[in-house]
């Protein structure tokens, strides 16, 4: 558009560097480009999860791309220098735009444009012309302004040597809409930047602070990673408080490390509670806290309740309920050996967060008690994803077993048996990789509601002597076979059990592959498995006998099912990776509440921006700026009157208004001489035409010129 509006009669601006820069920054093309660029680059942070622990990214992208993305700041895009620079650029561009537009808009709002030539008016889309013989100029002017008044316009009359102009306008506050909206963008943008990580980045860049990346207790964190109260004006930090403890700091997580932000008061967590709906979904999270602040509260601490959606604001610090976890629940545990000939369990105690040393078959292992949960609301096993059926699986303990080399297996054991397909099991999930799917071990429950029978059964398989006795007792007496054959068969049975205990059914079939020619493999494997099953059944019967189960009537249905389930569990044991099964027997829950503490300085500024934005947008969209001109001159003993008008937007509505005004004047003055043909311009051109008066007007040079 700008080509058409180089003002006539004025020298073209000298293209100094500053002017070019201003022109560039304030240009509409740049503005639109920036809007789109910000939109597109914002997408990155929504598809790539932000601020995850760095090892997760390494696993995901591999070392090379990890480094590339790291350099680009993609793990914290919205804090990355280049992203902030784009935002700053948008703010700058909008400011320049306002700087260049505001005077024009204000002038349009405040000043009546009386310097206008009759010919320009005749070029307007809305224009009528009267020749009124025998009329008094003053009387005509009175009629015209009377009509302006009737239509709600304000006007100003200017006398020139040979003519008069009455310039009128309506809806002038529409011009404020632009100022409000765009000022809002600048205000919100600056406020947002101030509340962001800008200060931290600055301090980091100047070397005043450094991220801590080690896993340290709060008191061990060195001063370089600590921020005193007020060191930065805005922050957002977290702290996990066990019930009964207090803290006067929060952690600020940043990239691959964290900082400790000290608070000018201490928060004590007295109690944390989760309430549940009958269906098991959480209903509320509530922290009862106490604020200790000698300087401001003296010896009487402030009691408060914090809930999701109901933060506590204290001295400009807002404290939110944001997370919860375990605060060191006390557990009683029973470890059942899985790889030895004796199944007698070991009782032990521990606290969540602590580490127990246990002796394993190949050296000491660390038992890290990670997490305790009272409720586990999980999808009903076997349900379709859409079924939305959930079941509470009861309390669970999550722990890790770490060997001397630092390799860890992770476990999740449920305390109470779970019913699956009509039978009951103790369930233990295991995984060798963090983030991998848990593999579940299902230990069938015995008649005493305990895993004991299964574990005794399992122990038998590791007891070679005991196995021999059982085998001898139960040897199938095959007619006409030599004792040697019998001995060989027993050895085969022992070997099979051994293989099975070491590697499950897979080990047995592998063994068959190794020793049997291919053409007889299938047959032989079948035979092996049959023998194995018979043997295990003998052992199982012996376990039952030892328990005192009466077997005269044969094995009951329940025992039979138990045997099958036990076989499945035994087959899964070699991959389970733990030398014992850890049973949770009692617990005393201690909860912890995750609190988020934030401090912000620019909230008021940003909210003011919000208000401006809403006000501005509504003014811009839903009011319209309209102008009318009446040009009057004496002519041949009468008066020539030109009436013209233009609207900035809503041109269809304005056309209607203009016509009504014209009708009103016809009533007052009589028919006009010439009417520029009244057409309802198609909306396509309506606004472009409506803009003309603003563009053609020679009074100011920059009108609409900046966005080209």
């Amino acid at each position: 558009m700008s080509e058409t509006i180089t003002p006539i009669g004025k020298s073209v601006h000298r293209r100094t560097l500053g002017w070019v820069l201003l022109e560039f920054l304030g240009s509409m093309n740049l503005a639109i480009t920036l809007l789109v660029v910000v939109a597109v680059s914002s997408i990155i942070g929504t598809v790539l999860q932000q601020n995850q622990p760095y090892p997760n990214y390494v696993i995901k992208f591999g070392p090379f791309w990890f480094e590339v993305f790291n350099r680009l700041g993609l793990y914290d895009v919205y804090g990355a220098g280049w992203f902030i620079a784009i935002l700053a650029f948008l703010i700058l561009s909008t400011s320049v735009c306002i700087y260049r537009q505001a005077p024009g808009k204000l002038r349009e709002m405040l000043r009546f444009r009386t310097r206008i030539r009759a010919d320009s008016l005749r070029g307007f889309h809305q224009c009528v012309e009267w020749r009124l013989p025998e009329r008094d100029l003053k009387a005509v002017l009175t009629e015209v302004t009377g009509a302006f008044h009737a239509f709600g316009y304000r006007w100003r009359v200017q006398n020139y040597s040979d003519h008069q102009v009455a310039a009128a306008m309506k809806g002038r506050y529409n011009r404020l809409g632009y100022l409000f909206t765009h000022a809002a963008v600048v205000i919100i943008g600056i406020g947002g930047l101030l509340d962001g990580n800008l200060w931290l980045k600055l301090k980091e860049w100047r070397g005043e602070i450094a991220l801590e990346t080690r896993d340290l207790a709060a008191r061990d964190i060195p001063p370089i990673s600590r921020l005193a109260p007020g060191a930065v004006s805005a922050f957002r930090g977290n702290v996990m408080l066990p019930e009964g403890s207090a803290a006067n700091f929060v952690f600020l997580r940043l990239r691959d490390g964290f900082l400790l932000q000290e608070l000018p008061f201490a928060i004590e967590l007295r109690d944390f509670q989760v309430e549940y709906h009958a269906t098991g979904q959480p209903k509320s999270f509530t922290s009862q806290v106490r604020i200790h602040d000698q300087d401001h509260l003296g010896d009487t601490p402030l009691e408060a309740t914090i809930q999701v959606n109901h933060p506590l604001v204290y001295r400009g610090y807002a404290i939110y309920q944001s997370d919860f976890g375990d605060g060191g629940s006390k557990l009683e545990l029973r470890a059942w050996p899985l790889t030895t000939a004796r199944a007698d369990p070991v009782e032990t105690q521990g606290e969540i967060g602590s580490v127990l040393k246990v002796a394993g078959p190949t050296g000491a292992i660390r038992l890290e008690l990670d997490d305790f949960r009272l409720f586990n609301l999980l999808p009903e096993p076997g349900a379709q994803p859409g079924d939305r059926k959930f079941r509470n699986f009861g309390p669970s303990v999550g722990f890790k077993l770490r060997d001397a080399a630092g390799e860890a297996h992770e476990y999740l054991n449920y305390m109470t048996p779970v019913q699956l397909e009509g039978r009951w099991f103790f369930i233990s999930g295991a995984r060798a990789q963090p983030g991998a799917e848990f593999m579940y071990l299902h230990i069938p429950v015995d008649a005493n509601n305990s895993p004991e029978r299964f574990l005794r059964f399992n122990a038998r398989l590791h007891d070679a002597d005991g196995l021999r006795t059982v085998l001898a007792r139960s040897a199938p007496s095959v007619e006409g076979q030599s004792p040697d054959f019998q001995r060989d068969l027993d050895q085969v049975r022992l070997n099979l059990v051994g293989l099975f205990a070491q590697g499950g059914f897979a080990a047995v079939t592998q063994k068959a592959q190794a020793v049997v020619p291919a053409d007889r493999l299938k047959e032989a494997t079948g035979l092996y498995l049959n023998i194995l099953r018979d043997t295990l059944a003998e052992v199982f019967l012996d376990v039952l006998r030892e328990e005192g189960v009466k077997l005269e009537q044969g094995v009951g249905e329940r025992e039979d099912a138990f045997f099958n389930d036990a076989l499945s569990a035994l087959a899964a044991l070699p991959a389970y990776g733990s030398p014992f099964y850890l049973q949770l027997t009692r617990f005393q829950q201690v909860e912890a509440s995750g609190l988020q503490v934030t401090h912000s300085n620019a909230t008021g500024m940003v909210y003011t921006g919000f208000a401006f934005l809403v006000i501005g947008i509504f003014i811009m969209f839903y009011t319209s700026y309209r102008r009318l001109w009446a040009w009057l001159a004496l002519e041949d003993n009468g008066v020539r009157l030109i009436l013209a008008g233009a609207a900035h937007r809503h041109s269809a509505e304005f056309t209607g208004e203009f016509n009504a005004l014209q009708a009103d004047l016809i009533r007052r003055l009589g028919s006009p001489e010439a009417v520029v043909e009244i057409t309802v311009p198609p909306p396509d051109t309506a606004e472009a035409v409506a803009l003309q008066p603003f563009i053609r007007d020679t009074e100011r040079s920059t009108s609409n010129g900046s966005h080209s």
Binding site: V308, P682, E687
Partner: protein, 393 residues
């Protein structure tokens, strides 16, 4: 498009101030709504806190203004109110009646109402297209009536569902805008109302089929979501959503989404028509599809309205976030996508208003804008994780 001067001059000029023309019926309308709202307050006051009372007062004023500004809204609101009252009366305090009481089971129980709504919207879509090609005034009127009825059933269903959630348990009760299932219904309703408004103001039904196509799409999703995913069960609110902010933030958002969807469908009509005009100027499409300048105009109006509503919604979201998550802006995926949608339409408006872009490129942009919007409203929940644990598929 030339109109004779005489015709223009004879056209009565309506004064722009709405306050001058308030008449008896307007007063009655305002009174009726105020009394109805007062009664609802008296009934449900125990469930409301101060903010919610303020929201109720605000909604009452908004409802009155709506009816003053746009007369057809009155009949609509009163019909919905009547049906809802009947349903609540029939329910009493027994949620199980939904399975046995005839009136509830086949008409007013929320699930039944939604089925009616779905059916009627799909019928209306087809009817609008038939009306467009047959140029039958009668069929057109039928299409409008179907759309109104569908919208009545949908809003009634939502209101009844609101009550049903309380019948399930007072600690479960909440306004039905809390998950993807419920907001899809809201989306259909708002889009329909926006369309009906423009239909009335521009005195043309030509755009109906296109507008309703978006709604039928939402209905298709809703049916799949109901029957395949069983998403229609009323669920208790997670703690993060237990806030009065939800009552204003979500509806404001959906005015935006609805308006953008409408604009996009008009964009589709625009592209079809301009394509048809270019290739077969005398063809059926070029002659029957809605005229380009109308589409362009309504498209702009819808986007302007959507932009205003979406601005408010995003600001409300920021205020809510400041109260629930500890900051007005967290660059959470849902927030970020709201910003993306907003910037996108800001760019659209600038191009149109300051650079004077019109026609095909803007229509394309409006259509693409819908995909951006759709991602913000569906895709984020489906594919991205964040603080808005608002509903997954």
């Amino acid at each position: 498009m030339a109109v004779t001067r005489e015709a223009m001059l004879e056209r009565p000029w309506e004064h722009s101030s709405p306050w001058l023309r308030l008449a008896f019926w307007d007063g009655l309308w305002a009174l009726l709504i105020a009394v109805g709202s007062g009664y609802a307050y008296w009934l449900y006051q125990p469930y409301m806190d101060g903010y919610e009372v303020a929201i109720q007062i605000g909604s009452t004023l908004a409802l009155i203004t709506w009816g003053l500004y746009w007369k057809p809204a009155r009949r609509f609101v009163l019909t919905v109110a009547l049906l809802t009252v009947v349903a609540l009366w029939r329910y009493g305090a027994d949620y199980e009646l939904r399975k046995s009481a005839f009136l509830l089971k086949y008409l007013l129980e929320s699930q039944a109402a939604f089925m009616w709504m779905s059916t009627l919207y799909v019928l209306a879509t087809a009817t609008y297209f038939v009306a467009l090609f047959s140029r039958s005034e009668f069929i057109g009127k039928t299409a409008t009536a179907l759309t109104w009825s569908a919208t009545v059933m949908g809003l009634t269903g939502l209101l009844v569902r609101w009550r049903e959630s309380y019948l399930l348990g007072t600690d479960i009760g909440h306004i039905p805008v809390s998950n993807l299932y419920e907001v899809f219904i809201l989306f259909a309703l708002i889009t329909a109302l926006l369309y009906l408004f423009y239909e009335d103001r521009h005195r043309t039904r030509a755009m109906g089929g296109f507008a309703l196509l978006a709604i039928s799409g939402a209905v298709a999703f809703l049916l799949w979501y109901t029957f395949d995913r069983q998403a229609h069960h009323i669920q208790p609110l997670i703690p993060a959503l237990q806030s009065y902010w939800m009552k204003i933030h979500v509806p404001a958002n959906f005015i935006g989404y609805g308006a953008f969807a409408l604009a996009a469908m008009l964009g589709v009509a625009y592209l079809l028509r301009s394509g048809a005009e270019a290739h077969r100027p005398q063809g059926l499409l070029a002659r029957t599809l809605p005229p380009l300048d109308l589409l362009d105009d309504v498209m702009y109006k819808a986007i302007a309205l959507g932009f205003a509503a979406f601005t408010i919604a995003t600001i409300l979201g920021a205020l809510w976030a400041a109260e629930a998550w500890g900051g007005y802006w967290s660059w959470d995926p849902k927030e970020t996508w709201a910003l993306i949608v907003w910037l996108n339409y800001a760019a659209w408006l600038h191009l149109r208003l300051t650079k004077g872009w019109r026609g095909t490129p803007m229509a394309w942009w409006a259509v693409i804008g819908l995909f951006v919007t759709l991602f913000a409203f569906l895709g984020v929940n489906m594919f991205l994780s964040g603080l808005h644990s608002y509903g997954t598929l």
